[in-house]
Symmetry: C2
Subunit: 506 residues, 2 copies
């Protein structure tokens, strides 16, 4: 007997719920591997993760599953299923197509290539020698181009890669906003570099006990409203946020006793990701919609907290006295103004992850321009070191003396994660635009920070961004929350206003 | 084309390896639930565990799996497969039969009954009212009797239940050793109670900071040779040991700042379990043989460490000075002798898990006698409180004033874990017999403890017990390690010798 649409909807929801249980197990195994797992257990753990991931993959690409979501997305089902089911089915179809359009043998070969490329990349980075990595990167780019052929594209082949991380964002959009952002920042950077008012940062590097850093980080997370009954903070080497289940959103941080900023700003950053996940509507639980809608929107939430709150003068007005008490006296003779200027020092660096908030987007734009060139056959892999170094010289005024601190610094390309980098700068622009919109409803934003009252800010983000999960696409969220499409000017204006004061610009 | 035995053996080993990966995920989820999981995540976590457990159950009871191990255990395969494969196949068949002999609907009904019974038991225990729990226990016993009918039995129906936890141990064996042990202990207890030399224990209950208890516990685990690169120690409410994978054997402990014994002896106990698991031959990895062979042998290893090492005078000769330094001065004026006598105080208690090492077996024997009676239709559930109280009066000289501290104190019966209790006392007797045998090869056992040199002791246990995993049955291990079948006298002699000195008995 043929099943009714109602029955198929139930089957489908049960099926995706089961998928979410496998994801929970796998995510917990990852979390454990990166925080608590004993050294010798790693290899065996990796095998177990591989087994469960393979099962998960089978579930997501099974014929029985395909039949369910295809029926639910057909004319026949239209109007009979819930909006959540419909969007969930669309997500499942997208994932399904992503895998199924690639012949299995080519996919498996690609996974092996990625894994090999990552280990070669590590060695090449260590030795600062791009030529070792070049043949692997060439193959990864070639294969990815072939995959784009399978997947298809609209307008520009690189759009298909962007769509993996930031659905709806295209080369046309990025070309425009990134050009404006790049020029705006380069102008500002020149002004800053001409300023004679340089912050003193020497006092930042004194010993600050780990337990005290942790206590302060916990205070801030509590102030943000991070729910410790639905999450926890642990230590790790490379900090991350991970959602084990919607009531278990964990963050990790790293402590450097000679530089408190690593833990404090790192925790705030990951905390921003976690608040997003914690505030997603529980109606979406057990579906693929119960997570952040894109890498860029996710990054907008971590950067909103790290930069627009954490590096704001008013935020420190509220916290500075307590913060001083946690330290071993290193700030006793440092005024709030000097402290604020020190944590906002602008200084071009070769390394993306060490960049300040002014120059950071330039690192991303360089990577975007290169990726776009590669996938439009305008740049060849063999020329990357040269092009990389020229762009750094041109945009940032500095040049790497070896590829290890240049073109080889990030792992992304070794993992074939082309299309990912733009999310970082998109997230930053989203955050600035959201802040601008928020100010209309919370004009006393700074005053509230100075009073330690973050509730209306978190409520605004929750209401306008967080709760939707994947029910809305990134640009839909931005448009509805701010009333405008993406614009670079809000970030440029923010940076100019802020650094005008810090560097006494005209 | 028909597969060769060699091919089937490979398929089988791949299959059980996959099973071990599911077990790894499930065990990690349990560990996390009991140590780190945030409060609100529990319900969703339980759902994920249920999903994976159901999949695991399907794998263990699938027809394709049954075909594999049946072929491997057939005449045809005889001599062609490895000994490990053969024993693994036997284990799989045993589990398979255990589930398959019970009709699925009866099994599902039973699981529901268990779950209901556990929540009713909690309430009944809280209220000290057996009558609430009685109808559920009656059903659990009735159903279990029906299951014994399905499973079959030899000699005595209760043997089938014993076999679930301690394969090879029967009512005939237990009747004999438990009677001897019971009488020996009751005699000793009377002598102790008549002694005028009572230890002073008042100094045990001073505040001892948690971090210091932890540091001392870690010292001891290191001394035992517990490998922290294959394990870790965490805090929990009800301490346990859990094997996530053979290179990841974790222990947990509980800290009571008013009684250091909870953490110190608890850690030693769980550490004993963990050493067993860490020393199992890695040749068995990925098969169902890579774990302890039975509950009793497992308990023998925890009790060997807790009692025969941890409560030994020589052990404290080595540790007492350092231990004093960790404390806040509470033992500054306590001699080693007084300390040793205090931690070995004998005092009958109503509660099994609070019992001293002399009276502990009596708690177990009471439970054994009752279970045996129930499954031989000699005792009815409704009479349990009366029988329980009489036995406590008779064996221990004390009587509960309500069922909460009497017949309702343990969770085991609510979970229908009939046949489990004897393992505790068996483990204790195994440990005493192993110690006796070990003394022939390590006659200076006490001197080595006094010097802090545990290596030969751990090596002996590893060589004679640990490494075999499930390759040998419990009584096989005991026989081969000690050259004798199970005897009660070694435990009785140990207790008499030890307490003669402590209580100055004639």
């Amino acid at each position: 007997m043929k099943k009714t649409i109602e029955e198929i909807e139930k089957d489908f929801l049960r099926y995706v719920n089961k998928i979410s249980h496998y994801e929970e197990a796998i995510n917990l195994m990852y979390w454990d591997l990166r925080t608590k797992a004993p050294a010798k257990s790693v290899e065996q753990r990796a095998n177990s993760i591989a087994t469960l991931s393979t099962e998960l993959h089978k579930m997501c690409t099974s014929e029985v599953f395909e039949e369910m979501f295809t029926t639910l997305l057909s004319e026949e089902a239209s109007g009979q299923i819930s909006e959540i089911t419909k969007k969930a089915a669309l997500e499942c179809r997208k994932d399904y197509d992503h895998f199924k359009k690639i012949p299995l043998d080519e996919y498996e070969e690609f996974v092996k290539l990625q894994s090999k490329a990552e280990s070669v990349w590590e060695e090449a980075k260590e030795k600062g020698d791009f030529s070792l990595f070049q043949p692997y990167l060439e193959q990864l780019v070639e294969k990815t181009k072939i995959f784009i052929g399978y997947w298809g594209y609209e307008g520009n082949p690189y759009n298909t890669l962007l769509d993996l991380y930031e659905p709806g964002v295209t080369v046309d959009i990025l070309d425009q906003v990134f050009a404006e952002l790049r020029d705006g920042i380069i102008d500002l950077l020149k002004d800053i570099q001409h300023s004679s008012k340089k912050p003193d940062t020497s006092f930042l590097y004194h010993p600050f006990p780990k337990e005290k850093q942790e206590a302060f980080s916990l205070d801030i997370l509590k102030q943000f409203g991070y729910d410790f009954r639905s999450g926890r903070l642990d230590e790790t080497v490379h900090p991350f946020e991970i959602t084990i289940n919607p009531y278990d959103v964990r963050i990790t941080t790293k402590y450097d006793e000679k530089d408190f900023r690593v833990a404090v700003f790192g925790t705030i950053h990951e905390g921003g990701h976690a608040l997003y996940e914690q505030h997603i509507s529980k109606d979406l639980m057990g579906t693929p919609l119960a997570t952040g809608t894109s890498m860029g929107i996710h990054e907008s939430q971590s950067l909103f907290h790290e930069i627009f709150i954490g590096r704001n003068r008013s935020f420190w007005e509220y916290h500075y006295d307590r913060f001083k008490k946690y330290s071993e006296g290193q700030f006793d003779h440092v005024s709030l103004d000097d402290f604020y200027r020190a944590i906002n020092e602008v200084k071009p660096t070769l390394i993306r992850i060490e960049a300040d908030e002014v120059t950071y987007p330039l690192h991303i734009i360089i990577r975007y321009e290169i990726e776009k060139g590669l996938f439009n056959d305008e740049i060849e892999v063999k020329d990357l070191p040269k092009i990389w170094n020229e762009k750094y010289k041109h945009y940032l005024g500095i040049e790497p003396d070896n590829d290890g601190v240049g073109v080889l610094q990030d792992v992304h390309w070794a993992g074939a994660d082309f299309g990912y980098f733009p999310s970082y700068a998109l997230g930053y622009m989203y955050a600035a635009q959201l802040k601008h919109a928020m100010l209309k409803e919370i004009p006393d934003f700074d005053k509230r920070l100075a009073k330690g009252d973050l509730k209306p800010i978190e409520d605004w983000l929750s209401e306008n961004v967080h709760r939707f999960g994947k029910m809305k696409k990134p640009l839909e969220i931005l448009q509805e929350a701010t009333g405008e499409p993406l614009k670079a000017k809000y970030l440029i204006n923010y940076l100019r206003d802020k650094y005008k004061e810090i560097y006494d610009l005209s």
